[in-house]
């Protein structure tokens, strides 16, 4: 893409984790997004704008779409079979926080 923003030498995309996550959620290849931040940093807004302008699904999006979610399985869930003695309940914060 012919973006005016300086292309980082390594082709690396500079964007905060939240923008990267949003790109994945929207199926946008973040490498194709024009960054409006300093130095061409890609913001969440840039990702959203790119998606709205029809830029979704360039690539990379496929991974997310294809990745198999939990499918029903036909054998009985282990949940019932496995003892849950001492389960949950013990609130209080955290691993070792109950004292």
């Amino acid at each position: 893409p012919a973006d005016e923003a300086p292309e980082p030498a390594s082709g690396r995309v500079f964007a905060p984790p939240s923008a990267r996550r949003l790109a994945r959620e929207l199926g946008v290849d973040i490498a194709t997004v024009d960054g409006s931040g300093p130095g061409g940093r890609v913001t969440e807004g840039d990702v959203r704008a790119h998606a709205e302008s029809g830029g979704a699904g360039d690539d990379g999006a496929g991974d997310a779409a294809e990745s198999s979610g939990p499918k029903p399985i036909d054998i009985e869930s282990t949940r019932s079979a496995v003892s849950k003695a001492g389960d949950a309940g013990t609130a209080g914060v955290g691993a070792v926080a109950d004292d």
Partner: protein
């Protein structure tokens, strides 16, 4: 718990309860997946039981004793006595508390816990063998499996671990008394952390390393600071020598034979020898082949940007999935694998994995060094602030080291940082966030840093890279 030859099913089966596996299991359960975590030994894996936590506990203890014993300059006179058996008991208490916590957190999140050794039957089925007589085995069918079987210490020929004379890091961290003297084979991060710790407690430490400096892979000025400090603690180094074998001495100690590449032989005497030459991934417990998987030449399981293996239903995370073999990398992969298994668009798209070495002083690094930045085509802008110009460092007497920030000259983006000095492991957090956020030097420099703190050095280093530091001279 289910015993006998029963078959059950689960959405996600996680194999191994180290920081890769237990984190994956908790996240998977949080995402509503029926999750089963199988561990054959101890919750928390190598990290909580034989690695990160016990080593840092002893390093802290050794630090307290050593600091007090060396504070005459401050007008503090102390001659601490150390009861190793008691320190060991304290360490075990810490470990028990954390591993107990892991178990509780798993249960509280609804993870099914199964004790035993898991092996693959096929791409959707595990067999779990329970130890002990009459415990039998069970089969678990899974939609997804996450392999998190970790790593174990590498043994070198002639140095089989016996827990008596030839110790692994695991053996050493279980010592009930201090050895008077120790030969350490390997000056990597585990060897250096343990050597420094023992030297502070009074053990005579001799380090033998095949390469020509400590901590291979770190920059020279970083290596130098840690090596010099260890030497000041009377650690003796022999570089360019490989451990060739050992013999028991008449006194019941060890005589460790070494050899240079040119064949020059030397011998070092000590009570015991610690072999810390690296760790190798654990795949031999798994019968990977039954699932259609095969480790790489290096023994790792290959994975993609979602920590997924070549077999769609199986993920691999942590030490078994490749370098860097670090607990926080394992946990990150565990989270991504769990989210991917739940159908979320997760990815290992972080910019950098930080690493810390708990020597004296500590080292912590993230992202690119100056040389790496140049290699990747950046024009590196580098700034540095030595701790001996830091007010906070001076008030603690710990003034060795520096903060270095590496950025891209054109855009100002922070690409990485190297910190050697007090609390480096904590200070790196700010730079990791900077790297992840795509922060610029200006962002770091303009952020107000509390006075007096060591963290100010990070701001100064950024300013220095921009030619406008206040507390150091700019070139």
């Amino acid at each position: 718990m289910v015993v006998g030859d029963i078959s059950t099913g689960t959405d996600v089966a996680v194999i191994g309860a180290g920081p890769g596996g237990y984190v994956a299991a908790i996240r998977a359960a949080q995402l509503g997946l029926d999750t089963t975590l199988i561990e054959r030994d101890a919750y928390g894996g190598a990290c909580l039981n034989h690695g990160c936590i016990p080593s840092k506990a002893f390093i802290h203890g050794a630090g307290v004793a050593h600091e007090a014993a060396n504070a005459e300059e401050l007008g503090i006179y102390a001659d601490p006595a150390v009861d190793m058996e008691r320190m060991q008991r304290w360490k075990s208490g810490v470990v028990d508390r954390l591993t107990g916590g892991v178990e509780k957190l798993c249960t509280a999140n609804g993870v099914n816990l199964v004790e035993g050794t898991a092996t693959f039957a096929d791409e959707h089925k595990l067999r779990v063998a329970h130890e002990g007589a009459g415990q039998g085995s069970e089969s678990i069918e899974f939609e997804h499996a996450i392999v998190a079987t970790g790593s174990r210490p590498i043994q070198i020929p002639g140095f089989e671990f016996d827990g008596e004379r030839v110790l692994s890091s695991r053996d050493l961290l279980q010592m009930e008394s201090l050895p008077d003297s120790l030969v350490v084979v390997g000056a990597g991060y585990i060897g250096m952390e343990l050597s420094t710790m023992l030297a502070k407690l009074g053990t005579d430490v001799t380090v033998v390393e095949m390469l020509d400096d400590v901590l291979p892979g770190y920059e020279e000025d970083v290596q130098r600071i840690v090596r010099s400090r260890a030497e000041e603690l009377d650690v003796e180094f022999h570089f360019g020598e490989g451990a060739a074998g050992w013999e028991e001495t008449a006194e019941g100690g060890v005589a460790v034979a070494t050899e240079t590449e040119e064949g020059e032989a030397s011998e070092y005497l000590a009570d015991k020898v610690l072999v810390a030459v690296g760790r190798s991934p654990v795949t031999d417990t798994l019968e990977l082949g039954s699932a259609g998987l095969e480790p790489t030449e290096d023994g790792f399981i290959e994975t993609d940007h979602q920590a997924r293996t070549d077999v769609d239903s199986i993920f691999a995370v942590g030490d078994v999935a490749g370098e860097p073999m670090l607990a926080h990398k394992a946990s990150k992969e565990g989270i991504v694998a769990a989210e991917a298994a739940a159908g979320e668009p997760a990815a290992l798209d972080y910019q950098a994995v930080p690493a810390a070495v708990f020597t004296e002083p500590e080292i912590a690094t993230v992202g690119l060094t100056e040389a790496e930045a140049a290699e990747e085509g950046f024009d590196p802008a580098v700034g540095q602030m030595p701790f001996n110009a830091s007010g906070r460092a001076l008030t603690t007497t710990h003034t060795e080291g520096f903060v270095r920030v590496v950025a891209d000259e054109e855009t100002g983006f922070v690409l990485g940082g190297q910190i050697v000095g007090p609390d480096a492991s904590e200070l790196i957090a700010e730079l990791v966030l900077a790297v992840e956020m795509g922060a610029t030097l200006e962002d770091v420099a303009a952020t107000i840093h509390t006075h007096p703190t060591l963290a100010e050095a990070t701001m100064e280093a950024a300013e220095n890279a921009m030619g406008r530091a206040i507390h150091t001279l700019n070139r």
